[in-house]
Symmetry: C2
Subunit: 398 residues, 2 copies
């Protein structure tokens, strides 16, 4: 029987129902609050801090990520919290309720920080976002991030771009004050949403190969460099089908797939995890934001010569109304191969990026994308969808 | 300069703005209300009913479709109308306004008849739909059509399934009465929405090759069997990439693409139209309905051995709420290749069918579809999307 280290719960919605007792009923021994001190791969043993030792035939590393915590004073003040685990979420909710919080200062304007502003707004709490770059969500093109910024402003979220947080101290009008090079901002809670790093410390100490990304290196069967140790989820790498490189993309759907592939291989029904295309989405109030594939910078790093085009249009036939959508496509100049796609819009952005994710998966070029057969109907698209228009316009420019 | 026969206006929204005069300003001579009597391909001449003769170097057949009109008495009564052209639409709107219409009887429960019930409902007019089959929209699986039926009923549309219309006569409580083998239904207007047939009469008379579908046969360059005569749109065939057969699918987006490909080839910048996968969608009040690829019946006719699975789920993560969606996938038993997809749901059905259309285009199998990288985010899908669940469940059953 394999033991699992870390978070094996694939569906957080079921977490409350699936206590260790519930797992035990299914014959699965879950040890919570059990800190692993070391792994001895030669003996096939996991030793816990409390002295207990668990032998294994097969081991799965599922250690996930750690929240990245910047080096600045005041982060030990009560009310300064990271956002990574379910425990963090419970702690934040309790704090907000107990302090009757009205304003949160979030350090980090990536998609997690942005999603939090929406969740807090729904709870009647306003947010100030401190972000190092001028615009939110750096993965997206500035013209698309500009749409997000306008939505934040329309929804009453204060976005302080191009600002570097330098510390947290006690506030005067509110319990906490975040100091930045572009002014100080007070709030009842300070949320650190600067990103996460794969938690590969135990893997490194065990002698497992760590990839250039800092995450655990695996093969297409989710096996690490030691044959009977597998890894799955945010702590390990995935093969990016567009860049043909191993990357670390800590997203829940990828973790789910890797977990199932690892389980299949351990259980004797072998299969491979054939990789990712970097598909991702989030909702920002009334906007859908989605992306897949490579940014221009990533494309250059992967050896391509990228060209891009941003198309604007409506997610429905203009005769039925306008639902503004922007779509950026990136392709390789020499082959016309689609390399990346980003969309932001009032509707239809996620569906379009999903269609383009499949096109990226299949390695399609702009000639194909420009004439794809999509499910046209005026409430959902013009006869020439923005996908067609963007692909044809980019194709003409190559 | 080529002449165009039929409807060259690609975007009906611009119709009013683009009168023949407007076209002439762009150097395009548009003759409206000009009935073609014959084409002489040997001389390269088109002769009109009024005696005028137009010589051509290149000719494009864009004759579209004719509404299918059943053989029954009473169809010549005022207020019995087909729905095909913009003129039909104008006639219907005028009639409804002038008669202060309250109820319309629609013969035909395909997607056009269903879309009409929504449009009429928005105008405060109720609809009775007479349909030959027990459930609407035959292309969709009965369990998905059942969802449509429930939506019709919830929206106050009367659906009379399994009924054969036998004639129209003057009514008593309303101007018109439709007689069926399942009762008689009165209304201010009777709409024939039984389908369309490719209008290939002129092509046939000209000696152009007609396909087994009854539509004009073309090659991948939209050329007919006579080198300098092209065809585009509903009057001609398209290559179906899944069945590998030539089909006639009269949909506006396909017509647009074929028109552009014909134009490119005529204009000396050759390109091919690489076919369709049968992607299609319509909105039915609060439901999105979409499909792509082959039904089981079509799959068998194309030489496959199909198996299908219908999955039910939510278009968003259940923790955020339920938005019911049903997805049917059909695949080939021997190869696992995806052959078709149908979805009906409160949200996300069109986006998912678009992603699956691209998968059909690329010829993917269920193993690939089951692990596609899609843009996961709880407002838009669970971590395992219904696409993954359906593909894996169908794969297990093969």
């Amino acid at each position: 029987m394999p033991y699992y280290i870390g978070d094996v719960i694939q569906d957080q919605n079921k977490l409350i129902a699936r206590t260790p007792e519930k797992f035990r009923e299914s014959g699965i021994d879950v040890q919570i609050s059990a800190r692993v001190e070391g792994i001895d791969p030669a003996r096939g043993e996991v030793s816990l801090q409390d002295g207990r030792i668990f032998p294994y035939d097969v081991l799965v590393m599922a250690t996930g990520t750690s929240a990245f915590v910047p080096d600045m004073p005041g982060l030990d003040l009560p009310g300064v919290v990271s956002l990574r685990s379910l425990e963090d979420a419970v702690r934040i909710k309790t704090w907000l309720r107990e302090k009757n919080a009205k304003r949160v200062v979030t350090i980090g304007g990536g998609f997690i920080g942005l999603e939090m502003s929406e969740a807090l707004s729904a709870a009647g709490i306003s947010t100030t976002i401190i972000h190092k770059d001028p615009l939110p969500a750096n993965r997206w093109d500035p013209v698309l991030s500009q749409m997000m910024l306008e939505e934040l402003q329309a929804q009453g979220v204060k976005f302080v771009g191009g600002a570097s947080a330098q510390g947290v101290e006690k506030g005067t009008s509110a319990p906490l004050r975040v100091l930045t090079d572009r002014g100080d901002y007070e709030g009842d809670l300070v949320l650190l949403a600067i990103g996460v790093r794969p938690d590969a410390n135990l893997a490194r100490a065990t002698g497992l190969k760590i990839g250039t990304t800092g995450a655990i290196a695996v093969n297409f069967s989710q096996q690490t460099s030691i044959e009977n140790i597998y890894a799955a989820g945010d702590c390990c790498e995935s093969f990016h089908r567009v860049s043909r490189r191993w990357v670390n993309v800590p997203l829940g759907d990828i973790a789910n797939k890797q977990g199932r592939v690892a389980g299949r291989n351990i259980g004797g029904r072998p299969m491979t995890f054939d990789g990712i295309v970097g598909a991702q989405s989030f909702r920002l109030f009334s906007l859908q934001c989605a992306a897949a594939g490579l940014s221009e910078r990533e494309a250059i790093a992967a050896g391509f010569s990228p060209a891009s085009h941003v198309a604007w249009g409506s997610a429905m036939a203009p005769a039925l109304g306008m639902r503004k959508i922007g779509l950026k496509l990136t392709a390789d100049r020499s082959t016309g191969r689609l390399l990346g796609a980003q969309a932001v819009g009032a509707a239809g952005a996620v569906g379009r990026i999903n269609a383009l994710s499949v096109a990226l998966w299949a390695g399609m070029d702009l000639d194909q994308v420009g004439y794809l057969d999509l499910a046209y109907s005026p409430p959902f698209s013009p006869a020439w969808d923005i996908i067609h228009n963007a692909a044809q316009a980019l194709g003409r420019s190559l």
